[in-house]
């Protein structure tokens, strides 16, 4: 007999399950039964019980005091103008007060349960989760009646067309969510604000940059001229943000067809990481490496920002630049490839 059966006096029989790989114990050591109850101090000594009661009451009183402190904190530290110390004190005293109020109740209730409520272990029988055979038979009977009376098993035409209708029902609901976002985002990603003659300006002020202002070893954070006038400027900035760096021209290792993309050692690269799109902005002056802080992709600025470490797979797109008649840096065209992370239809 399994343990379940031994202890279950209510059941006439329990369903026997297969134990599979389990070894059925044949020579098991006897269960000695529940340990005898050991009385606590508060069970034996009425003075200890009275002391425990006072302790519980004290904790509840602390709780009341905590609530009063919280209300005092709220009233005593009004938020006035730019004075942040009141904000801090308000949060601190209301919080400490409420914490005391809660902890007092909590410790009090638990101490009460531990010391004064009975701690005798009680045994309750379990019932098998499986329903009794009569119940199961009755359930099967009900289902059979439902089947017979509706005729669903017999009437193939009704059943099949019903499933068809139910399958088609959610389709309009799914289609309704189609307006969550416009189509064609993939194409939009090929186009940024950069174009022939667009000036490179400082982020965030929008002031144009002269080539002479960019000294060797300096970095400028760049947005296209006119970005600040747009309403959806963050959308455009998310594609058009550029990092402008000047290095010693002898350091640059440029491909033949890109020699005229830089201007006297000044190079401009997309700031949007080709891994998952964080701004790549950590420029190390001496090593001319660009580090992205999110997942540590590292790009070598002197070698067209090819990836030298980290999870990015493609180099940062380069923005071809030159100067206009007044000496301001301008773009020669848009990026020649989409900026940012790789996507399916790239």
């Amino acid at each position: 007999m399994s343990d379940l059966e031994k202890n279950n006096e209510h059941e006439e029989e329990n369903f026997e399950y297969d134990g599979g790989a389990a070894v059925v114990p044949t020579d098991k050591i006897e269960d000695p039964g529940l340990e005898p109850h050991r009385p606590r101090m508060t069970d034996k000594d009425p003075k200890a019980a009275a002391r425990a009661e006072k302790q519980v009451a004290a904790m509840f009183v602390v709780s009341i005091i905590g609530a009063i402190i919280a209300v005092w904190g709220y009233v005593a530290f009004p938020i006035i103008g730019d004075d942040l110390s009141n904000t801090r004190n308000n949060a601190l005293w209301v919080g400490v007060g409420m914490a005391l109020s809660l902890l007092g109740l909590g410790f009090g209730a638990i101490h009460w349960a531990k010391t004064l409520m009975p701690d005798n272990e009680i045994v309750e029988q379990r019932h098998q989760s499986r329903s009794e055979p009569e119940t199961r038979a009755a359930a099967v009977e009900i289902l059979n009646m439902a089947d017979n009376e509706s005729g669903i098993s017999r009437r193939k035409l009704i059943r099949r067309t019903m499933f068809g209708a139910l399958a088609f029902l959610p389709v309009p609901a799914i289609v309704l969510f189609g307006d969550l976002g416009p189509a064609g985002v993939g194409d939009k990603m090929r186009v940024t604000m950069w174009d022939r003659g667009v000036r490179l300006t400082r982020d965030p002020s929008g002031v144009p940059i002269k080539a002479s202002e960019v000294t060797v070893g300096s970095t400028f954070h760049v947005i296209p001229d006119g970005l600040n006038d747009l309403y959806h400027k963050l959308d455009e900035k998310a594609k058009a943000a550029v990092l402008l760096v000047r290095v010693n021209p002898s350091v640059l290792n440029e491909a033949e067809d890109r020699r005229d993309w830089s201007y006297d050692g000044i190079v401009a690269y997309s700031k949007i990481c080709t891994h998952v799109g964080c701004p790549v902005a950590l420029y190390e002056q001496l090593t001319h490496h660009l580090l992205c802080p999110c997942h540590q992709s590292t790009f070598d600025l002197a070698n067209h920002c090819e990836v030298i470490f980290g999870p990015a797979a493609r180099p940062l797109p380069q923005l071809p630049i030159t100067v206009d008649e007044e000496g301001y840096l301008i773009a020669q065209s848009d990026f020649l490839e989409p900026v940012g992370p790789t996507y399916w239809e790239r």
Partner: protein, 549 residues
């Protein structure tokens, strides 16, 4: 007579009258009878789920307060509030309202911090609770469905957390959304459409924060509450499991009744968890959004990490090598993103399906209400530790730059070490854990058969030295021998007389699981050991021998 009955009832006091009022309308008495003296076993490790439940309640309460003040609009506004370094900065209304909650509303900052600390504790508690359930085998029949529900709750907790911390539209969480955008766009075929649908167009758009808001305050909490209700209902119907011990069998529950002991302890614990979160929130800053500034695609802060429970996914992105991308027939597959995504999903799938995998292997269809001590299921425990290790390395991988900065190491070395550890570590963890479990089982066996070493060495009159062993009392002893034993099975032919490949696989897995095993001590072995021990002395007899000498 009816009149005398009604007269009697009227004079019984307020509580009795109130109970009667409700019972006459709702049959509440039946419910009280069902649950009032229901027995629940007591162990501290059973309270981890309770920590999760109470921190959920706390997060909901504080969150409700915040919904009265937060505004999820992404329209632009110029800040003119109390925090000087941001006064005059252009930002979204969502960010501005979060700043107002923090600086202008009394109790606002406190509630924000309670909400966020509570959320961190909620997911942590669910994680620890899941680990306890796993390592004690509480997911076995009849609780497999509850395991799946709990798993879904863990996922929902992560979803609630992610949607929640992205709501203030600050620089840190905004970069997190940027990363999500990059990952979505990388999905083959539908990537850009999914991204467009999520953000309402190009990133960042003007829709995403309010969509996250409806997910965060309505859809995800509704799912969580339904799942929690199911989880609790199944717990009550199946009753709670219990650790092995004297008097505890598969057919009973030994513990304390709901009223009054459990109710008092559970209510008290709720107040304590709430109080601890409140105390932490009153004294420690969390998510100081005013430091990060509003989201803008151009700036970024060093040390950009998500909340801890998303850390393992961020770590997976960092540890993936960069040169796996492929382009097939003109279409790009960013493997550096897809491989971490697929591996994470596989890991989650294995976690969700584990009870069914183990059941398929052991073919044990009995109900299990007595838990396994982790050492008594060595392979399962070792697999669990290997899984925890895998998760943990990915989690640590999210903070490679902080580790490099604080311990003055090279970022590159930290990353490469973690890549190596990710691949070989789980195997080493498995091996060490399995051996440790078997060794502990042998130690338990030693204790049962020979008793506890007292450390007292006694010299007998005949010159022999022995160490005195104190035998365990019968209650302690029973705890060490009451566990299930399994053995490898051979592949059996099916109905058609054929041994399928799956069956062969199953049989070899039973060998993998149960080949190395320590069986519990049997009555015969114990009796033999006790007879043998009669030649040794017990503590008392050794004392007597010494006194006589």
């Amino acid at each position: 007579m009816s009149t005398t009955e009604t007269n009697k009832e009227q004079n019984q006091g307020f509580a009795a009258n109130a109970a009667n009022y409700f019972d006459e309308r709702t049959k509440l008495g039946g419910g009280l009878k069902f649950i009032g003296r229901k027995i629940f076993p007591d162990h501290w490790s059973f309270m981890l789920g309770e920590v999760a439940l109470w921190s959920l309640v706390i997060t909901i309460i504080s969150g409700t307060f915040l919904t009265f003040f937060f505004n999820p609009s992404m329209a632009h506004v110029t800040y003119d509030g109390a925090y000087a370094p941001l006064k005059g900065t252009e930002m979204s209304i969502a960010y501005a309202s979060a700043l107002d909650i923090s600086f202008e509303i009394r109790g606002g900052l406190l509630m924000r911090q309670v909400h966020h600390w509570g959320a961190l504790l909620f997911v942590a508690a669910m994680g620890l609770h899941m680990l306890r359930v796993f390592f004690t085998g509480a997911f076995r029949k009849p609780r497999e469905l509850n395991w799946v529900i709990g798993f879904l709750l863990f996922i929902m907790g992560m979803a609630a957390g992610f949607t929640g911390y992205s709501l203030p539209d600050d620089l840190l969480s905004g970069n997190g959304l940027r990363i999500i955008d990059g990952m979505l766009k990388g999905i083959p075929v539908i990537g850009t459409s999914v991204s467009s649908g999520f953000f309402g167009g190009e990133f960042p758009g003007t829709e995403v924060i309010s969509r996250l808001y409806s997910l965060h305050i309505m859809i995800v909490p509704a799912l969580i509450l339904v799942l929690v209700a199911l989880h609790m209902a199944l717990l009550i119907v199946n009753k709670h499991t219990q650790y092995p011990g004297p008097g505890r069998t598969e057919g009973n529950v030994v513990g304390y009744p709901v009223l009054p002991v459990y109710a008092a302890k559970a209510a008290g614990f709720f107040f304590i968890v709430f109080g601890v979160i409140m105390a932490i929130s009153a004294t420690f800053t969390i998510n100081p959004i005013w430091n990060y500034g509003p989201y803008d695609p151009s700036p970024v802060s060093a040390g950009t990490q998500p909340d801890w429970y998303i850390g393992w996914l961020d770590g997976a992105l960092r540890l993936a090598p960069g040169n796996w991308d492929v382009t097939i027939l003109g279409y790009a597959y960013p493997m550096g993103i897809l491989v971490p995504m697929v591996i994470s999903l596989l890991f989650l799938a294995v976690v969700a399906a584990y009870p069914f995998i183990e059941q398929w292997i052991t073919k044990d269809r009995r109900e299990h209400h007595v838990l396994d001590r982790p050492r008594n299921a060595p392979t399962r425990t070792a697999i669990g530790v290997a899984g925890v290790y895998f998760y943990g390395i990915l989690w640590a991988g999210a903070s490679t730059d902080l580790i490099a900065y604080h311990f003055q190491m090279s970022l590159n070395h930290v990353l490469i070490s973690m890549q190596v550890l990710l691949v070989i570590g789980p195997f080493i963890a498995y091996f060490i854990t399995k051996r440790a479990c078997l060794a502990l089982q042998r130690k338990d066996r030693e204790l049962v058969l020979h008793g506890r070493e007292t450390g007292r060495v006694v010299r007998l009159p005949n010159g022999e030295y022995i160490e005195v062993h104190e035998p365990l009392d019968k209650y302690e002893l029973y705890k060490l021998v009451d566990y299930k034993d399994y053995e490898p099975t051979i592949a059996r032919p099916n109905k058609n007389g054929k041994i399928t490949a799956m069956e062969k696989l199953r049989a070899s897995l039973t060998r993998f699981y149960f080949e190395d095993r320590i069986s519990p001590v049997t009555k015969t072995e114990l009796r033999d050991a006790q007879e043998h021990a009669d030649h040794d002395l017990t503590q008392k007899e050794a004392q007597k021998a010494l006194e006589q000498a």
